[in-house]
Symmetry: C2
Amino acid sequence: MTTMIQRKIRNPEQTRSDLLDAAYSEILESGFQAASLERILANTSVSKGALYHHFGTKRDLGLAVIEEVIGPQLEGRWFNMLAQHSDPISGLLKLIEEKIASADESVIRYGCPLNNLIQEMSPLDESFRQSLQKIIESWVEVVAEALKEGQASGKVRADTAPQDIALFIVASIEGCVGLGKNAQSVAAYQRCLEQLKVYIQSLAA
Amino acid sequence: MTTMIQRKIRNPEQTRSDLLDAAYSEILESGFQAASLERILANTSVSKGALYHHFGTKRDLGLAVIEEVIGPQLEGRWFNMLAQHSDPISGLLKLIEEKIASADESVIRYGCPLNNLIQEMSPLDESFRQSLQKIIESWVEVVAEALKEGQASGKVRADTAPQDIALFIVASIEGCVGLGKNAQSVAAYQRCLEQLKVYIQSLAA
DNA sequence: GAAGATACCGACTAAGCGGTATCTTGTCAA
DNA sequence: TTGACAAGATACCGCTTAGTCGGTATCTTC
């Protein structure tokens, strides 16, 4: 009944991964709710049937993007950087400096994928919120742990609360990205991060 | 041809204001793109015809919400508070403390209306971006001016850049709200703001 | 090589969307 | 009192949306 022009060779994992990538881009550009499955499909060569074979609903696709694309992206980088510095202050400064150096149009245009989804989805869908929260928590935890070790080795002021400071640092970063994004200004983003550096330096013992 | 059950008395300004209020709530809950005109109308007793009499498009309605509801809400408060303190540090601390004290479920649930719209709309619609940017700029400006005056009167450290610091403070606040919102935790929000207080205190001469 | 499972295809559906057209009614100035 | 216009009402339109379904092609297993 219908003409069948299918892919000759099959590669389910590739198909799934293509969908995740395309969905990630679409969500980054439009947000989750305004993300269009038709557009995602148009940017891959995947059919609607294949999509719904791999993901039960649009929601499932979105959650998979968070857990399998956004999460790993963020955690790996921070974990590694802080692991290879014995002094957490240097490690944090290095990470911020890296952000300042690599700041470009696309960061300023789309902002932080994590923050975007938090602002849009966390009040609307509890599963999204929890998924995003897991990432935030492990991010904060990595920073807090580094600060604690720094306190133990006498490199970070002892009269501070690592957990709270870590939370504030993460919050500030998201804030800087958000403001830079709205100003459409790489310079504003960088100036904002420079102030965060000042704050971080003030944590040194 | 059509049955006409209309409002007996007319009050165009009230109608317009009702629409703005209902649109504000709907946008706060669902974001702009997912905000439904039908739902907005259902929450007022206004007809679609009346809506489109007052606002040309959904976009126009959104822009009016930003300029006539969100903007004034924010600016008034910060301007007044900083005006009545000769010491900007005290003024800022007072504002943060007020935020900490008045933190409740609804702040944590919906977050900052301004930040929500920035993350969602600024990459998608240049008019939205500019409208939001005007608010951010005047917010940053109020803080920066207060800091400058503080420097002049010797209450704020002279070796700092008021404009950059103001930017960072605003960014941090948005970040704190955003993280508190995702954690669904008033306590986390408050802890985050407490750290901002520490930073602000460090600006004193 | 047959059978069963997995992967994939694309036309279709129902609902919701923003927006429009055409109408009536309230208001107020002349 | 009446004419003009602002304000409001409602039915309707075209379009997009997420999701479904019957069917087919490929792969794996025995």
